[in-house]
């Protein structure tokens, strides 16, 4: 049995006494697709912050490819193969779609290389491939800020894939998307799993169901339950803290 790609060991994060995460354990194996759900304030975004180095946990350890990520700078963690998509689309709005992707696929990511070398044919092909995956070929030279919300989400996902990370952390990829766009995004993420390990955070139950993957339910900073979507939905505890409440809200 090979070692897991990512392992969170008893992670706790405390913001001035408030425990955002408490003894959180999570294991992801190579090629996994995993969804994480949880009510607002459950610590979903905080735990991505911990993995990507934005927040230092109060205690616990993050093991990625058998090495600890704790205390590493964000850009080093990114270079090691952790890619992150933010909750609201964060792209470089004043650059064109193509330029955005060029920054993602460039390697090595040093000032000297960016200044002296031009993009390799391999990279240019990769940019074309990424644009065709997310259907943005016709927008190649358009300023990214002029894209629609859904296209921005996709561009960010494409940039993420362009970084060629082993682990993709995707935070609410379908927020504000139309149903059709949501379905396409689900298919896209499913197709990325296998080659990559993908962790998706979202609220949208339909979307999670469509991903058809193991789900972890986060509640008050720790994992309440792990299992398939149908198992989760039957769990009385989960219904109480999360699903039940949301159904009430819908009524």
């Amino acid at each position: 049995m090979t070692a897991p790609l990512l392992e969170l060991k008893k992670i706790s994060v405390s913001f001035e006494g408030f425990l955002a995460l408490r003894d959180l354990d999570l294991v992801l194996n190579q090629g996994d697709l995993r969804a994480v759900i949880g009510p607002n304030g459950a610590g979903k975004t905080t735990f991505l912050d911990v993995i990507t180095g934005k927040i230092l946990p109060t205690k616990g350890d993050v093991i990625f490819k058998e090495k600890s990520l704790i205390g590493q700078k964000e850009f080093r963690i990114a270079r090691k193969g952790v890619g992150r998509k933010f909750q609201s689309p964060r792209i470089f709005e004043n650059l064109s779609v193509q330029e955005n992707l060029a920054l993602a696929v460039s390697r090595p990511k040093t000032p000297f290389s960016l200044l002296m070398n031009s993009l390799m044919v391999k990279n240019l092909d990769e940019i074309q491939r990424l644009m065709s995956i997310v259907n943005l070929q016709s927008k190649a030279n358009i300023r990214a800020g002029a894209l629609s919300h859904g296209q921005k989400q996709w561009l960010e996902i494409a940039m993420l894939v362009g970084q060629d990370p082993d682990l993709l952390l995707v935070d609410e990829p379908v927020a504000g998307l139309t149903d059709e766009e949501t379905d396409l995004t689900a298919d896209l993420l499913k197709s990325l799993a296998g080659d990559h390990t993908v962790l998706v955070i979202d609220h949208d139950m339909e979307f999670i169901r469509r991903l058809d993957c193991p789900v972890s339910v986060l509640h008050q900073g720790h994992v309440l339950k792990e299992g398939s979507m149908s198992e989760i939905q039957k769990d009385p505890l989960v219904i109480e803290v999360y699903l039940g409440k949301s159904e009430e809200e819908e009524e």
Binding site: I91, F92, E99, L103, P111
Partner: protein, 375 residues
């Protein structure tokens, strides 16, 4: 397409020919006084280019470029003073005698070499900018805090230089116009003519250099840092390195600019490190067009020329006009004059006053083979 591009290159060629002809002809057309002013303003365009790189592209508003500007000026002035100190007592610059200093301070020694001076004019400010910048950027100080910090640094340098009579003549500064270079007086007409040409050529070289920096992905990373630094980090780039490099380059530009300005105005003094002067540099770039390199050059040259013309006609009114210009640009043309023109501002204005018709185009639509708009 090809006709268009050849037409465009012809226009480019014509503009360049015109610029070069103007530079060559200027000394024969302009009176010495005006030529000297133009030369100074061209040298200021170089520091403006640096401000544009760090502010317009990278989003770091430095209010302390005067530090590096003055350092370049002091390097040049120290060399010139030493170069013509032969006949003075102890063979050291005259002002030392006023304070009873008999031995040249150690840091003056290397400035006896012209090569050392030519290198240190840009390298010394660049190194200091890089060092200060690294400390600030490493601690993720940005935005307003960065601006305040640079201004504080400026005041520290200003006060330090002001107080060091025995080292660099303190508040009086170092005069260069009566010093000798190549057997000529630096303030002489022929030298000033050469300094004008050197300034003009260096502005062009600095422009090419800056353009090369921002042309491709390096420039895009700078813009990325300006717009969303965290995204740059999570894409795997280290913003600290990029910011340090660009701040260092801007420091080097400021140094060259300061040296050229010094030899053309005849003196370098701590006045180069006053707060208003460093803020003026930002105003030139804001008015000319932040993020457009040409805008920085034009802003520096035209605003300063306007300053001298207005000051001659209506003394004491310039500060009001400059302030008004700044407010106008910030409110009405936030991208500066050149940025506004490039964004079709002229046509929109003509439309507003009813001269021109609005164009019916929607540039980002793409049509497929059947003539239908792609989604």
């Amino acid at each position: 397409m090809s006709i268009f591009s050849t037409k465009k290159s012809w226009i480019n060629l014509t503009i360049w020919a015109l610029v070069i002809a103007l530079i060559i002809a200027a000394p024969s057309v302009l009176p010495v006084f005006r030529l000297n002013l133009l030369g100074r303003y061209l040298s200021l365009a170089i520091v403006a280019l640096g401000v544009d790189l760090i502010w317009g592209f990278t989003g770091m508003l430095s209010l302390g470029q005067g530090i590096f500007f003055a350092l370049g000026g002091y390097c040049a002035a120290m060399f010139l003073q030493l170069n013509s100190a032969g006949e003075f007592p102890n063979g050291i610059p005259e002002f030392f005698g006023l304070y009873g200093v008999e031995k040249l301070p150690f840091f003056w020694e290397p400035f006896k070499s012209s090569i050392f001076t030519l290198i240190s004019i840009w390298l010394l400010p660049a190194i200091i900018a890089g060092f200060l910048g690294y400390l600030v950027f490493r601690n993720r100080i940005k935005g307003v805090y960065f601006s305040i910090l640079t201004q504080a640094a400026l005041l520290v340098f200003f006060n330090f230089f002001n107080g060091q009579q025995k080292l660099i003549n303190g508040t009086n500064g170092l005069k260069t116009d009566v010093t000798q270079l190549f057997g000529q007086m630096v303030g002489s007409e022929i030298m000033q003519r050469w300094f004008f040409w050197i300034s003009a050529v260096l502005v062009i070289l600095a422009w090419f250099f800056a353009r090369w920096i921002v042309r491709d992905r390096f420039g895009n990373i700078l813009i990325g840092i300006r717009d969303d630094e965290a995204r740059v980090r999570f894409t795997g780039y280290n913003p600290v390195v990029f910011k340090t490099i660009i701040f260092s380059i801007a420091g080097g530009f400021a140094g060259i600019s300061g040296a050229l300005y010094t030899v053309q105005s005849g003196i370098v003094s701590p006045q180069f490190m006053t707060v208003p002067f460093s803020i003026e540099m930002v105003v030139w770039v804001a008015v000319g067009g932040r993020g457009t390199l040409l805008g920085a050059i034009l802003g520096a040259v035209f605003i300063n020329y306007a300053k001298s013309l207005v000051s001659e006609a209506l003394p004491a009114s310039w500060m009001f006009i400059q302030g008004g210009l700044f407010i106008l640009v910030v409110t009405a043309l936030p991208e500066g004059v050149l940025g506004w023109i490039r964004k079709d501002g002229l046509r929109k204005l003509l439309f507003l006053i009813g001269i021109n018709k609005k164009l019916e185009t929607y540039p980002s639509l793409e049509v497929d083979e059947q003539g239908e708009v792609k989604s």
